[in-house]
Amino acid sequence: MNKYFTVIAMCLVLALGFGCTKKQTVKQEEPIKQPEVSIPAPVATPPAETQPAAPKIEFKTIFFAFDSYSLNEEGKALLNQAGGLLRSYPEVALRLEGHCDERGTAEYNLALGEKRANAVREYLENLGVSRSRLSTVSFGKEKPAVAGNDEASWARNRRVEIVPVAK
């Protein structure tokens, strides 16, 4: 940390020292560049309209076990990636949509879907994403991603979909 501040301080001193030259004034207008850590270029959001379009970043869906809202290792890894992205793009807000498979009681599944969405939200919050950027909604078993009544289909329906929305 110390080194970092020394560097910044030096930069400041240099900038001040040469503030009178024309070249430096040009330099100053350029923003301090963000590091490129294998992150795709940010997509500019259009100026605020009545319905601002959502940023075009895609997030992977998080899957769960039957009657469970615990994140598994794969889910955590995917959220860790998402957390990095979200720290770099503070203008992106997310809607976390919790879903269940077709088995079991609709009312209980609505609550379970919300627990899943909440689990993802809490994890992202702990990754440093502000709560104000994260909204949740549960669809229970009402909106399956795939049809079919076998374990393969059920497994793909027990999920939280992460949808970027305009803030």
């Binding site: 609709a106 009312e107 549960s138």
Partner: protein, 430 residues
């Protein structure tokens, strides 16, 4: 080879015994717990209405519905004569008492079409063979309508048993159409089907207001859960609850003054009591776990609800202040969808048994866990207002239909045939 055959025969005898054994139990339950009246049904007498063939057809249609109603009511054991020829069981125009007594009837329902002035009327009367007197008589218009037939059934039930019949009650349910689910209304036997909503969205969890004038339900019309009320007479809708997060599982209290519901505005699914008039909202549960699906005891003092606080969804009972919470179910790892019988003694619910979902009942004391369904997935049980029957959704035929049965699991029959039917709610006697 021979040994194999012997084994097969042995096996099939064992299997048969089992099947009959179960049927026997049903019979015992239905008959031993409830005394049924042996009611003879005489063939329609229509000499008077020879010039009105349509009246005869209509009357026959109504009698068929009445017969089904009376048989399903559980108050009667219907006795039909061996011949349906007109005049059977009559001697010189009068009831042949000896013939009906031989058949085991104690009372006989006599339907007659009579010409009165220029009108044809359907006269239904009941003769008691013991006291040898007419105990019921009423004229009906033979218009062939289901409503008139159901009304006649309930009148007969009331007069002969003293109890309120459920023949005129309705069942509301949720019907899938494309990506949406709209609310439907049908007679308790599936007749007279009509659509209640056209929201172009998912609409589920209908719950009847005690008077039967309105339904509360969960609507996704804003692409999230809101609780909406629908006035059945005017077709008007009103928003009941739109808090942040879940607004689900509405359940009107028996006095109609408050609505129990599930909200997650304080972090996770908890049960609240809302007074729609004063807008007062009171929180009943306080747990890190899911609490949902409340159902009222008939005296309106307690609620059975679903909670996964023991690590799996189980049923609990609390009073309407949220105090005195105690666990009801311990069998299996998934018990949901409780519905408290209007008779007070039993709670119907869904239990996951061998990976499938089955309708079961349990006494309010926690004793007497009984599985009522065995084929496919069977969910969302709802009691008839007299507590003698249950409706539920079943996937046993390959598509989800609404079914009904008696309280002990006997006489299971589908009342819908269009598939994609879920979450039935049996309406009150009106």
């Amino acid at each position: 080879m021979k040994i194999k055959y012997v084994l097969l025969i042995l096996l099939s005898t064992i299997l048969c015994q089992n099947v009959f054994g179960r049927a026997d139990v049903y019979l015992k339950l239905s008959t031993s717990e409830r005394r049924q009246l042996e009611l003879g049904i005489a063939p329609l007498q229509a000499q008077d209405a020879k010039d009105h063939p349509e009246a005869i057809v209509n009357a026959q249609k109504m009698l068929e519905i009445i017969g089904d109603d009376l048989a399903f009511s559980l108050y009667f054991k219907l006795v039909y004569p061996p011949s349906l020829l007109e005049g059977y069981g009559l001697k010189k125009g009068r009831l042949d008492i000896g013939a009906w007594q031989m058949l085991g009837a104690r009372q006989v329902l006599i339907p007659e079409l009579k010409q009165e002035k220029k009108k044809v009327i359907l006269k239904l009367s009941v003769f008691d063979l013991g006291i040898q007197r007419q105990v019921f008589s009423k004229d009906f218009e033979p218009d062939g309508s289901r409503a008139a037939a159901h009304a006649a059934s309930d009148l007969i039930i009331k007069n002969l048993s003293g109890e309120d019949g459920v023949s005129s009650t309705k069942i509301a349910f949720s019907l899938k159409s494309g990506k949406n689910k709209e609310l439907m209304l049908a007679d308790y036997d599936g007749g007279g089907l009509r659509a209640l909503t056209n929201f172009n969205s998912i609409n589920i969890s209908p719950d009847w207001q005690p008077g039967g004038g309105a339904l509360a339900f969960v609507s996704f019309y804003r692409n999230r859960t809101d609780i909406v009320s629908l006035n059945l007479a005017s077709g008007q809708t009103a928003i009941i609850s739109q808090t942040e997060g879940l607004n689900t599982s509405p359940a009107w209290s028996p006095d109609g003054k408050s609505l129990a519901l599930t909200l997650s505005k304080d972090g996770n699914a908890e049960i609240y009591l809302l007074s729609p008039e004063t807008k007062e909202l009171r929180r009943l549960t306080n747990s890190w776990a899911i609490d949902c699906s409340p159902s009222w005891s008939p005296n309106g003092r307690e609620l059975v609800f679903n909670s996964d606080r023991p690590g799996s969804p189980q049923l609990y009972i609390m009073d309407s202040e949220g105090a005195n919470i105690r666990r009801l179910t311990y069998q299996g790892g998934y018990n949901t969808s409780p519905s408290w019988s209007p008779r007070g003694d039993k709670i119907a619910f869904v239990s996951r048994i061998d990976g499938r979902f089955q309708v079961c009942t349990i006494d309010i004391t926690g004793d007497n866990f009984v599985q009522l369904t065995y084929e496919g997935d069977n969910e969302d049980p709802s009691w008839s207002p007299d507590g003698l029957h249950l409706c539920f959704s079943s996937s046993r035929t390959g598509s989800h239909q609404i079914w009904r049965m008696h309280w002990d699991g006997s006489a299971q029959q589908a009342i819908t045939n269009n598939g994609g039917s879920y979450m039935p709610a049996w309406g009150p006697v009106q």
